[in-house]
Symmetry: C2
Subunit: 124 residues, 2 copies
DNA sequence: TCATATACCGAATATTTTTTCGGTATATGA
DNA sequence: TCATATACCGAAAAAATATTCGGTATATGA
């Protein structure tokens, strides 16, 4: 099968474990989108994270389901409909996401000055 | 030059900014090693993180210096000696590292059961 | 009829990250 | 003398990740 992670998560140490669950480019943003608890359709998530290629979101959502951070519901309709919702486990990561968000806001200027302007991407 | 990141950090959103500073495989572990404030020599860090290839630590330390998370002192001696110490900026990330560490400890069992045993790596 | 939207997947490509290997130079102790 | 340790770097290979493209199937509305 394509796109299978060799080692699903890193069990080397607790820190690496946590990191490995969220370090893929868009996972933290996905959690941030789902944090409110409202289930979202993939297309909705895509629209919120326009910088991310849809395929990557597919893959990362799938991994997050596998890891138990997100739950998927498929509605047997046509055209197809499915929804992703944050789980309790995923929710327990939100305080971490929050701190990172806050840290990023507080220190944005330093890095913008240092490495240039540009700004678009995810709407946090 | 080899091993230069195309985009030093991700300025798309505050969350990605923070993530991009620490998402490389060993950066969070390096911060965790340096958190106490005691400057460490590269060889010392290597010994604490035996799973990491020395070259990677070199590279990631260099990036962290560039990003301002870590400060480097070179002593003009022979054989060469240098030390890396966490900066105030790096220190401000420690609460995040801490939460991730704690989360990892609290949820280790789930993932160990799910994805297998194995345990070595960094000594947190 | 035809473009659009839906969710998802495989394959190929591109990019990034990590790792391995070899080399610089010099001091120390066996 | 010789292996070892020190810090660091470049190049190349390997591995992991991200991206792009095209395809499945079907309902809706123009």
């Amino acid at each position: 099968m394509a796109y299978e992670k060799k080692i699903p998560v890193d069990l080397d140490c607790p820190l690496r474990l946590t990191m490995s669950l969220i370090e893929s480019k868009w996972k933290s943003c996905i959690l941030d989108e789902l944090r409110a608890g409202k289930p979202m359709r993939p297309s909705e998530i895509h629209r919120c994270l326009p910088e991310a290629a849809p395929r990557v979101l597919d893959i990362q959502l799938k991994e997050m389901v596998e890891d138990g951070l997100v739950a998927k519901t498929i509605y047997p309709e046509l055209p197809p409909r499915s929804e992703y919702a944050i789980t309790d486990l995923g929710l327990s990561l939100i305080p971490i996401i929050d701190r990172m968000l806050k840290w990023g806001e507080e220190h944005f200027d330093i890095f913008e000055k240092k490495y240039g302007r540009k700004r678009s991407g995810c709407n946090s």
